[in-house]
Amino acid sequence: MKNNRGKSRIKKETLLFILLLLINSILMISDRRGKETPRLSEIGFSLISVFQQGFSYISDFINETGNSINELKKIKTEYRALLKKVSEYESLEKDYLDLKRENAEMRRQLSLSSTTRMEKIPAQVTGSDPGIFYNTIIIDKGSKHGIKKDMAVVAFYEGFQGLVGRVFETGAYSSKVIPLYDKKFSAAARLQNLRYEGIISGNGDSKSLCLMNYVNKNARDKIVYGDLIITSGMSSIYPSGIYIGKVRSVVAKEYESSLELEIEPVVDFSRLEYVFVLSKEMEKE
């Protein structure tokens, strides 16, 4: 009797095991085929990210409260420095308005009727991938805020508008971003000054350098350490002129017809807190 009960239990456990394996396999196969419905992942992500955002805000609150005393001291010094800067910017603003007027006039004369401008949606980084096999950045804005798959994500860092990655999946109130350093990431790029083009891709780790491939070999002697890399705008995802990184080394293999550049991203991913999602909604000026 006891033996039969034991056998039946093992049978149940094995059946459930097979069922769970089947569910997981079906999910992965349907994902591979790119089936849009049912988007279990999006629904699950939307649900779980509510709790995740809660944790994120609580930890931020605790951190900020602890740091607030030091912050007050800093603010006083920064306030004085900023007052000085404001007076400098006042004169710059006048120059800017003159240049803008001049630019508009020249555009009119050259018949360049319109320019495109991307709308920036600000977002806070609330999390990262819980495992080690994938690289994910989670932000607190989702489809309800107008964010869609494949929108470019940037951050302002040391005066540069640097590329962070692109939106991979959206939940209702949060989104997953595939970062620049991920192996699956790629973007059309060019050297800002020399204008040579290439494809930038990640190396799998936020601490390692990114790679820029397919750069014309003629650029070999012209490229210098620290040259800036920007997006070329050749793809529909990333608008041109976003900073990607700086050249750290040039790899020229004899048997290859192009150069490989090692690039240090301008964005420091270990300190990333706020980003901007570039909305594809274009505005005509």
Binding site: L16, L27, M28, F45, Q52, S59, D129, Y134, G204, F269
Partner: protein
């Protein structure tokens, strides 16, 4: 009683997944942290058996999949498998405070890596397959082994199973 223990353990693990994704991310220094849920699944499955091990593994892995760029089912399949295998060891191993926790978690981490490779080969497009045996993996495995005795000792205090349930 059995279901409530399973439910509470699964909820704790889902909570740890969220913490791993959120709070650990905010700590300075870009550290790689141990896979705490893996360590707990090994402990819990070994104490509670295949049924509870695979169910908790399935839901914990699914929570990880929701917060990751991994295809849905990837982590869930790995953790279900680990829950089932270590659940099969219920009552067969007497866990000492240090040696067996380290050995079990080390083998579980290796199993996780090999199953990730197998799943990638079977189900994923080449561009979606992750790099498995990296420096990050080596660091995580070392950390898992170090964390194992402490997590096991901590989990024992929660009394998620009795000695009788473990088969002793």
């Amino acid at each position: 009683m059995r279901q409530s223990k399973l439910l509470s353990m699964t909820l704790i693990m889902v909570l740890i997944v969220i913490l791993q994704s959120t709070l650990f991310n905010k700590l300075p220094g870009n550290f790689i942290f141990p896979d705490f849920t893996l360590v707990i699944i090994v402990f819990f499955s070994n104490g509670r058996g295949r049924m509870d091990g695979q169910i908790s593994g399935f839901f914990t892995g699914m929570a990880e999949d929701f917060l990751s760029l991994s295809p849905p089912g990837f982590n869930s399949l790995i953790k279900t498998l680990i829950g089932y295998i270590y659940g099969s060891l219920k009552g067969k191993i007497f866990i000492d405070p240090i040696f067996f926790p380290v050995i079990m978690v080390m083998t579980a981490t290796l199993l996780k890596a090999f199953s990730a490779l197998l799943i990638s080969a079977l189900f994923l497009k080449p561009e979606a397959a992750p790099a498995v045996f990296t420096a990050r993996f080596a660091i995580e495995m070392a950390e898992n082994c170090i964390a194992a005795p402490f997590v096991f000792a901590l989990m024992k205090t929660f009394k998620f199973y009795s000695a009788e349930e473990r088969g002793f």
